[in-house]
Symmetry: C2
Subunit: 572 residues, 2 copies
């Protein structure tokens, strides 16, 4: 299994990558080589799929792979077309010939997915008969349905091995749920299951890899790495599948009740000489389940790193404030692209505590990133002077706070323009939810690393980072000080917001679980607090609509995942 990291639309580069893995497969005498869903065009191609020449170009790239693949058996995701519809397809390539194409039958159209927007659904379930081996092929969503193609393939088509190629986007703790489901499918079908998942970052999504090979008893026999490309080799004992079936009374009963319909079809594959892995080491089952912080951290590093690399940047700029969000963003950026490519700017006013300056500098030193100080007090006062005749004697309010944030935004963008670096935005999900952030100010940037990370999880990630290394990289006071935007004298986040532990719980209930105000209050929160938070979340929709993309790590991220109207009078 080639658990690869292609780039959306890079048909030449992706084909090269696929050919490279096919050579590795040849080198170990693999019988069958799998690539993820839409591995050739990259996933998700979104509206590129609506260009007729996109499917054609991906077909030409496929021909190149077919021509170069003598003596191999390959399952590869690509965009198939019959000239009037397009399909999410799995090419079945044997000995340099495209012998069949499977079309995905269940098209996800919820959450971040829009597949009904593009694809016609397949209606046929193939089983490939290859000597004594019978192989069933399907794609991603197909395997999530208990009565999906795998059932027909393994029960009526007698497939010994179910192959599922996937592009399954990450969110925290999803990996285990997915694994549990896949093991159950293998056992229910009394069939081996090879699950080849995509890896890599694509805009707001991260694909986590974690490909699996599961035996007919539902036990994992090989596993791909998390958040890295991997090449997974396993030897599947088909004799064991037959043995298991002789022992499985459920199967015999179900087979009588189910009727094979025209959806099932068999393809007899010309038998080629079967390979032997010989002394090739087989990827072992090494259970390395990461705890939540480690897993989310790895997802963020991969997500931002791939965004930077795939968009051809080589350095990033970010504002360090002496607070916990910008500190964590800097650590992640340094891990993703190397400390030498990270440029941090500290931009104090008279409201900035001396500890902020000290800690920002210390953090930069600990990390080994570039660091500079650009004081903005003078620029701030210049603006105040300019506005004096307009604002007259009106009281100071959020206007003046936003001005400071916008001067900082201007500076970061000017550095980005002049020196061609990507600006990373440092806000977290809690701020983004309630709009505790300045549009065109601290929200500026090409990518918002922590956009889907609630503040309470930001703290846990900081602790994870500090425990991971010999010496804590984030100065302790950054973590222990009360959080502050430092936009007015003695300002604290908690002057405006409920405690983060309360805020984050309400946000989760409202945004991720779609609970009503009443139901959230019944969880034990003050009704007034719940109402305040919900009103803020709804009112901040216009800000979020103009925010940079960030990495989805929860079941419901802002962005494609949650499509709320700006104009709405429903706030419950």
């Amino acid at each position: 299994m080639a658990q690869i990291n292609p780039t959306v639309g890079d048909l030449t580069g992706n084909a090269d990558l696929i050919l490279e893995y096919l050579q590795r497969a040849s080198a170990v005498n693999a019988d069958i080589t799998l690539f993820p869903e839409l591995a050739l065009p990259g996933y998700p191609p979104e509206d590129l799929l609506l260009k007729p020449h996109f499917a054609r170009a991906n077909r030409r790239a496929l021909e190149r792979i077919i021509a170069a693949s003598k003596k191999q058996f390959i399952i590869l995701g690509f965009v198939d077309t019959d000239g009037s519809d397009i399909y999410n397809g799995a090419a079945v390539i044997v000995d340099g010939q495209l012998i069949d194409v499977y079309h995905k039958t269940y098209l996800p159209n919820y959450g971040v997915f829009d597949e009904e927007r593009y694809f016609q659904a397949g209606r046929k379930y193939p089983v490939y008969v290859w000597g004594e081996a019978r192989l069933g092929v399907n794609i991603c969503e197909d395997i999530w349905y208990p009565g999906g193609p795998d059932k027909m393939q393994s029960l009526m088509g007698d497939a010994h091995l179910i192959i599922n190629i996937s592009a399954s986007p990450y969110h925290a703790n999803k990996t285990y749920d997915r694994e549990r489901m896949l093991c159950t499918r293998a056992e229910d079908n009394a069939a081996a299951l090879a699950y080849c998942n995509l890896v890599g970052g694509q805009d707001e999504l991260v694909f986590d890899g974690n490909s699996l090979i599961i035996n007919e008893g539902g036990h994992i026999i090989a596993r791909g790495k998390a958040f890295e490309e991997d090449f997974i080799v396993a030897d599947i004992n088909l004799e064991r599948v037959f043995a298991e079936r002789l022992h499985d009374p459920r199967r015999r009963r179900e087979k009588i009740r189910l009727t094979a319909d025209e959806s099932l079809y068999l393809v007899v594959v010309k038998e080629t000489e079967r390979n032997s892995l010989g002394t090739t080491p087989i990827t072992p089952f090494a259970y390395q389940r990461l705890d939540e912080a480690a897993e989310v951290y790895a997802a963020l590093v991969l997500g931002v790193g791939d965004y930077i690399r795939k968009n051809a940047f080589d350095k990033v700029y970010l504002g360090l404030s002496g607070g916990v969000d910008s500190a964590l963003t800097a650590v992640i950026a340094a891990d993703a692209i190397g400390a030498e490519n990270v440029y941090a700017v500290f931009m104090p006013t008279n409201y900035s505590a001396s500890e902020s300056a000290r800690d920002a500098e210390l953090l930069a030193k600990n990390l080994g990133i570039h660091y500079q100080v650009i004081a903005i007090q003078e620029a701030f006062e210049d603006y105040l002077k300019m506005f004096a005749p307009l604002f007259q004697d009106l009281p100071v309010d959020v206007t003046e706070e936003n001005l400071q944030a916008r001067i900082r935004g201007n500076i970061l963008m000017a550095l980005s323009n002049k020196f061609r670096g990507l600006v990373l935005s440092t806000g977290n999900k809690s701020e983004m939810s309630v709009g505790y952030s300045t549009l065109y100010g601290d929200m500026v940037g090409g990518f918002a690393v922590l956009k889907d990370v609630p503040k309470t999880l930001v703290y846990r990630l900081c602790q994870y980072v500090n425990q991971r290394d010999d010496k804590p990289v984030i100065p302790e006071y950054i973590i222990t000080r009360p959080p502050s935007a430092e936009l007015r004298p003695d300002q604290k986040d908690q002057d405006t917001l409920p405690p983060y532990v309360v805020l984050d719980a309400i946000i989760e209930a409202y945004v991720e679980d779609d609970m009503s105000a009443e139901a959230i209050a019944q969880m034990g929160f003050a009704g007034e607090t719940v109402r305040w938070v919900i009103n803020r979340i709804d009112a901040a929709e216009y800000k979020r609509r103009q925010s940079p993309p960030g990495i989805k790590i929860t079941p419901r991220a802002f962005g494609r995942d949650r499509r709320m109207p700006i104009t709405s009078k429903f706030h419950h």
Copy 2:
């Protein structure tokens, strides 16, 4: 037909509006009253639909209407639910009872639509038998399919009148295509057709009204206003439908070939006393097709006006530059919410021509909007001083241009923050396409009025506006001068961009028609120009993702309508 303008999520306000129109219907003795698709919750509710309590709240609002609707026959769009799925429904309310609910069967999931994301599709086609009258009901997309519910309802169910309630988003010249299709359906079915469309602005969408009543011969007998609420009364002669059918040989043949299946069902409606319109004036057929400029202009006025009103703003701020885009935006804003609520700011540097100052002021005076000048030369120089040690002797480039735009953005946002006005962004579709605009600079704002209006159409709209009034409101030199961003000495748009007539044609081919570079060049454009434009369009995706929403007026607007990856290497 009540061609109403509800607000998304405003269940109480929308129910009040519906009750108000029901009183008007009573007052004229209407037999049947129609409201648009999802009129009760507003359209499109987007992910509000994923909140289980949203459907319940809309059901409670429906109960209020049912209880208040004695002696009426009403077709009303709402969200129906059976407790596990939701449906895009049409409530059929007769004499204070909900006698049936039709479920939309064709769910649009392309362009701006995501209905497969939310709704279960209906599978049944009702015909309501009401004395001698037979009525078929369906919803929006249903009528666009030649073999949709209306065919079964009129042919096998013998419906005399097909009722279609809609929420059909506007784009330029769509109205006529829709009308042609609806007239053909009526004639094909030999049935009268009542098409009740929504009106109003909702975020990026405008619904144009233009409801229709068409007779069994395919001729329009009444028409609702364009871009305004309307109450349309017509008298439909069902005897004529029967007569028409006796003359229609196609119908008798088709009836033999088609089989009535279980999708069709009849509901016998308790016969109530039939009303008489008496002396009520019937809405006449007044063909008032607007030319393209007038139609687009009306759409923009309604779209921005509704965005402002429905989001509870009462005034707007915008930057006037002395150029054509900001001039047109100001005219539209003044038409939408009144000149006294429009605040224009002219923000010159030393690069601003004296004609710009003169014309900006003159325009403001002609319109009667508020006008102030805030010079930004000093602020610009302050920034340059601050950056001097960082930028050293690096050449002046786009950084310095962007700085000027961002200072202007800061000023508009500060005014918005201090005085609670909405900032209107003034950029057009041509700029937005190729990224000829400054993120966080001239792109700031809550709403971008001209976001989907190509520059060449901006000029046509200016001419329309000037011809419309006795005295041209836009100073002639604003229209005739060569367009310039005035961000460096003697800068002209055409130093950077191809002529707008070329640029706009390439944008249309690439963005709206998904044509390849090769195919566009074959239209007669220089290959190099085509390549340059396409690369700029693709590279500006990250900017567009952070742009304010704007009004869709073309078949493919940026926003929900075109979902491109930022990270992509496919540029063809």
